[in-house]
Amino acid sequence: MALPLAPLIWLAIWLYMRNRKGGAGGVDLSPGFWLFVWIICIWNSVFVAGLLFGGAAVSENPAWALPALAAAVFCFPWTFARWVLIPAGWTRAAYYVLRIPGTTLWKDRRGGALAGAVWAHTRSGRRSPRVDEWLQKKLAALSPLKAGGVAALALSRAAEGEIDFARGLMRLVLAFDRNARPRRILRVAVEWLAAEAATRGDWEAVRAIGSRRGVRTRWTLFASLAARRLLGESRPHALLLRAAWLLAPNRIGSLGLLRLALAGRQDAPVQREEGGLPATFSDLLRLHAALWKEGPASAGDLDRVQLGWSRLFMKGVAGGLRERAAAIAAANAEHVWEEARARIVGDLASMLREHGHSLAALTPSGLTEDIRARLEDEGMEELEHAAGALARRRANQQVLPVHDELVEWCALRDLYESLAGVASNGLRPLAFASVYPAASGHAVWLFNERGERPLGNALLRVLLEEARNAGDVEAERLQAANVAIPI
């Protein structure tokens, strides 16, 4: 008869410990200690819960199930919250259940619990201003910010529709030190990123996420298999795909992806005969205009148009234009021609960037050099502006709330990557050199002076990785040392 009370006893111990912790002014107990306590506690509780369920089954008295349930919640708060409270949209319940100390979120319990709560709120179907305010207050109070908090922010922004910013934040979650990043949160971030990439149809990214070691989940594994099939490179067998789908959670929801992947690539690349390109300005313009239609233009399409234009412009001012100029008494045929060329180059460059294609996707022609120059010029200018703004703000000690700091950081990172990704290889070191001093200074500032050590550390990690990519040996050495400073 004393057995059902066991969880309550544990609860009492927990409350005591919590009080002690709070009373000591936030003195942290060593994680090892907690681990020890909880391993004992959990397995005891599992045992108790099992007994209780057994008792309920044997005695056919449903009242027994109640304490059993409590014990189960107590043992597996994340599982309970993730599969019951969040789908039900019980925001506060999710928050408090996730605050139950356990091993799952102990690296950032407040932030992690908040992430769960935000998620639950978005699932509640109805946006309550009161709950919103409550969440925002809790979010703002998170300091220092750790991975859980960043994920919470990301979920809340994603719900607002700010997907780009949310993506930046989720990527940042991956960069956090493992001591500030609960595993569950990492998994949420990874799945979110995979889903987001799938929404955009960026299968390359989906595959990359699924094959990242150490952060794979069953769902991202399935998604990456599907992505590989859709990319049509090495096609995993349909059976394998089905098996992965069966193993992954969210089966019903993911059925759409399974079907899509099984259907495979919808349209094989159309073979185009060489020389089939239009030869007049207006026909080319029409072909070009087709690229502006909704949805991303493929690299192949861009290349085709680009080739057509370069062929046309190689021939110099069209005779028709000269005649026309004479007819209407305009003396600037050359200028008009050059201006049109510059506009077309500019447009090709901006499309390349907007759709995230690399310059390498274009066949070298009379225009590609100009497109490159254009891309580099515009991109570098934007980047310099953004980095300058960051540096200026720090120099003026203009402190923003941490969340807003993140807005700025993510915007800068997106800008940098879109530029580094699209242009030639030679640009990466140049781009890096122009953002690095400001970005690094900023991260160090957050780390040293703003008391945001985990966040500062995460930003430095991002810089470290990028220093490697850009081949900046000195920055790499320095950031490796910085990252090693314990948070």
Partner: protein, 824 residues
């Protein structure tokens, strides 16, 4: 048609104003009680606060100059207020202009039987937005419900073209007023009139002739009567005013007569009060006036030349303004410019005449069309009041029935027909479309006024009475819309500009462009403010254009923090009167901001202008020295150009100090022009220096990378070297400094790998410690550093150096230049 529409045009001049009314056939000029068509732009407020304007006020210009003001047009658009000490009243320029307009409006009311409610007012071609807006405001204050603006030269040409027979080619409009001179080059082609370019001198006019003449009079007084008067003696100011008035009267008289007698009564002389009679002949006046005339012609030559029009190609010149009545002026123009002078036009009233014609063109009748009270169906018609097209479109649409459904459907118009009143043309029967509308074209009588009858028919063919029964179109020149005089745009953070509405764009105009923010606007923060400066001018550098307003997005109004690079959709809108409105839509916030901080020509204190001129002089001297050293003739010539602008600016500044408030504006403009050329010259000059610096940097980096760099670094460096070379060839300064940054990074990275690097840096930093912001703290750091060096502790030295750097002054920012813009 009960009565013809009447159209009104007003020339609101600096010295004189005139007005004309036009009924579609005849032009009449508005006369005041004395029967004069020319109304002095003078306003007086006496000690009881009674306001008088026009010729009655002008009389007091001599005896009570304190309380009698003129030339307020020069101050339009500024925040300057004019004080009338007797009544202790302050009036803004538009308020004073409104007093003149009120007199005109009243006089016109007597003449045409009702007080006009709508009119066209002319403004100088070079008026900028705030000045135009102030003029519209004056019209509103005078009681007009709607006014439209037209550029003075366009009005003149319209009036001149209207009475002329042929109209192809380039025209010059020469407008010499009381104190301003404007020259405009216009082109007519296919019956369409266009202003090609303007030039002018804001301080040249009839007044200068009066000045010269009164000087001559003073000499005569001294020689013949022993009366000594001196301009610099304040006690002689009154007599000089009298001399000037007498001189002006004589001057005007001499435009028609060959001799004039000046009688000055009660002049105090050594022999007591005497009456003086002086005889002035035309030759003397001509000699005195010649410098003014020659100067104005030089401006014309400059204008014509600058626009690549050969002298002989000028079709003709239209003379406007009082002084152009002088025969010598006409003769000199004919001789020097070799153009026929359009004769038979009254230079005083031409502008008002043209403005009235324009009122017809834009169908702005003095009395808005009254809605018919009768129970008949009416058409809402659209057609040009005046058109160069011999077959313009006429459109119409049935308005809602006044009785609304009570009328039998049999009377519903089904088709219409238009026919010309002289019977020379008849249109076909035209069925109305589903919207009750029709579109057709009519045939005009060449160079005449055509009246068309509108008839409507029901489905059964019976005639349906409709309003209006006729419409009038004049065949003549077309000027569709007033063009914008100077490009309007937005200043960007890097001091460049983004053009929104280009010069010459017809008004009204609206344009929306997406720009990006350069820095964070923090939510709810008092301190952070995003500025969007609105500028006017055609220079590529924002600071050389004129700031006409600023749109502001304040942090406290922002609901979510805006990161840099956020989109801002800026819309600029100009109405026909040149009033500017601006708004910014921020998609991320889903909010519109429309607060324009100020919209007036900003005043600059004469002292700071003087300082600016001095510093420009200094910069110029530097360029000159270089130019001499390198025997660069081109550079020297262009330096001369700057010099000319600066000299003008200095002259204006002196005038401003002497109490001519609008010359500050002019000085400012000249200074801007000078700076534009200076900036160009400096860039050219600094290029070799920049390249030298780049080469040195590269050499430094190459050495260190070779010694201590990695393979990747070496590769990057050599790529950067190639890019540098390319930037050098293309003279691309931005690219050069960008590559230079990478080069420096590579070089310093390698450099710091040297075990002694930080010791060297320490030496460098401690040598410039005198410039540190906190010397005591810096000295302490130096000491600390020296100790660490003795210990050989590189890491500690490094810490010291970094802290020292923080104390040294940062690089200046050049963002201030672009009016502190927060966007790009």
């Amino acid at each position: 048609m009960a009565s013809r529409d009447i159209f009104m045009g007003i020339d609101l001049g600096t010295t004189n104003s005139t007005a004309a009314v036009f009924d579609g056939e005849r032009v009449d000029f508005v006369r005041d009680q004395q029967g004069a068509t020319v109304l002095p732009s003078v306003v007086r407020i006496d000690s009881r606060g009674t306001v008088t304007a026009g010729s009655r006020a002008r009389r007091y210009l001599e005896s009570d100059p304190e309380n009698t003001r003129t030339e307020f047009k020069r101050l339009m658009g500024t925040r300057e207020e004019m004080l009338f000490p007797a009544s202790r009243q302050k009036k803004t320029p538009p308020e004073l202009a409104a007093e003149v307009l009120k007199v005109i409006r009243r006089a016109a009311g007597v003449q045409i039987g009702f007080e006009p409610e709508q009119a066209v007012i002319s403004v100088p071609a070079l008026f900028e937005l705030p000045q135009s807006a102030a003029t519209s405001e004056a019209g509103r204050l005078a009681g007009f419900s709607k006014v439209e603006l037209i550029q003075e030269p366009v009005a003149s040409a319209l009036a001149a073209g209207w009475t002329a027979d042929e109209d192809e080619g380039f025209w010059l409009v020469y407008d010499l007023g009381g104190g301003t001179f404007d020259a405009s080059l216009l082109e007519t082609r296919d019956g369409l009139l266009r202003v090609v370019a303007h030039d002018g001198d804001n301080f040249l006019g009839g007044r200068d002739i009066d000045q010269a003449l009164s000087g001559w009079l003073a000499e005569r007084l001294a020689e013949e009567h022993g009366v000594r008067v001196s301009r610099s003696d304040p006690s002689d100011a009154a007599i000089f005013r009298r001399l000037k008035l007498a001189a002006e009267e004589a001057k005007i008289e001499l435009s028609h007569a060959s001799e004039a007698v000046l009688s000055l009564e009660g002049i105090s002389s050594p022999k007591g009060e005497i009456d003086v009679d002086l005889v002035l002949n035309r030759a003397t006046l001509d000699a005195l006036a010649l410098p003014v005339i020659e100067k104005s012609i030089e401006v014309c030559e400059r204008l014509v030349l600058a626009n690549g029009v050969e002298k002989g190609k000028l079709h003709r010149v239209v003379l406007v303004g009082g002084p152009t009545a002088m025969p010598v002026l006409r003769q000199r123009i004919r001789e020097r410019l070799q153009i026929p002078v359009a004769e038979g036009l009254d230079p005083m009233t031409l502008v008002a005449h043209g403005a009235a014609l324009f009122a017809l063109t834009s169908r702005l009748p003095a009395r808005p069309v009254a809605v018919s009270e009768e129970k008949r169906r009416s058409f809402w018609l659209q057609y040009p009041g005046m058109s160069s097209d011999p077959a313009p479109h006429v459109l119409g649409r049935l308005t809602a029935a006044p009785g609304d459904g009570t009328e039998p459907s049999a009377a519903e118009p089904f088709a219409i027909r238009l026919s010309r009143s002289d019977g020379g043309w008849k249109g076909g029967l035209l069925e109305l479309d589903a919207e009750g509308a029709f579109v057709t074209s009519v045939e005009l009588l060449p160079r005449k006024t055509s009246v068309f009858f509108l008839e409507a028919f029901a489905k059964d063919g019976s005639v349906v009475p409709v309003e209006p029964r006729s419409l009038t179109i004049v065949h003549g020149l077309t000027i569709s819309d007033p063009p914008l005089s100077r490009t309007v745009g937005v200043a960007l953070a890097d001091d460049s500009t983004r053009e929104f509405i280009r010069r010459g764009t017809p008004l009204p105009a609206r344009k929306t462009l997406t720009l990006r923010t350069v820095e964070t606007v923090a939510k709810g923060s008092e301190g952070s403010l995003l500025k969007i400066p609105i500028i006017q001018g055609e220079f590529p550098s924002a600071h050389l254009c004129r700031l006409v307003g600023t749109l502001e997005i304040a942090g406290r109004e922002v609901t979510a923090t805006l990161p840099p690079g956020s989109a801002v959709e800026v819309t600029l809108e100009l109405d026909r009167g040149g009033r500017l409105s601006a708004r910014a839509f921020v998609p991320a916030l889903n909010r519109v901001f429309s607060e324009v901080a100020h919209l007036a020509v900003p005043e600059i204190a004469p002292d700071s202008l003087a300082a600016a001129i001095a510093s420009a002089r200094e910069r110029l001297a530097g360029i000159r020295r270089d130019a001499f050293a390198n025997r660069d003739r081109n550079l020297l010539e262009r330096a001369g150009e700057v010099e000319a602008h600066l000299a003008e600016a200095a002259r204006d500044l002196a005038a401003a100090r002497g109490g001519e408030p609008d010359s500050t504006q002019r000085a400012q403009r000249n200074l801007l022009d000078a700076e534009a050329v200076l900036a160009e010259l400096e860039e050219e000059r600094s290029w070799p220096e920049l390249w030298d610096e780049a080469q040195q940097e590269f050499a430094f980096s190459a050495e260190w990378v070779a010694r201590l760099g990695t393979e990747i670094e070496e590769r990057h460096l050599s790529e950067a070297g190639r890019a540098l070379e390319k930037a050098h060839q293309g003279k691309n300064a931005t690219e050069l400094s960008r590559q230079l940054r990478l080069v420096k990074r590579l070089g310093t990275a390698a450099f710091y790998r040297h075990p002694d690097a930080w010791f060297w840096m320490f030496d460098a930093a401690s040598s410039s410690v005198s410039r540190a912001s906190e010397p005591a703290k810096a000295a302490k750091l130096v000491k600390e550093g020296e100790e660490a060096r003795k210990r050989g502790d590189s890491a500690a030295v490094r810490g010291v150096v970094e802290r020292l750097w923080a104390l040294l002054p940062p690089d200046p920012e050049f963002r201030r230049l672009g009016y502190d813009s927060g966007i790009r």
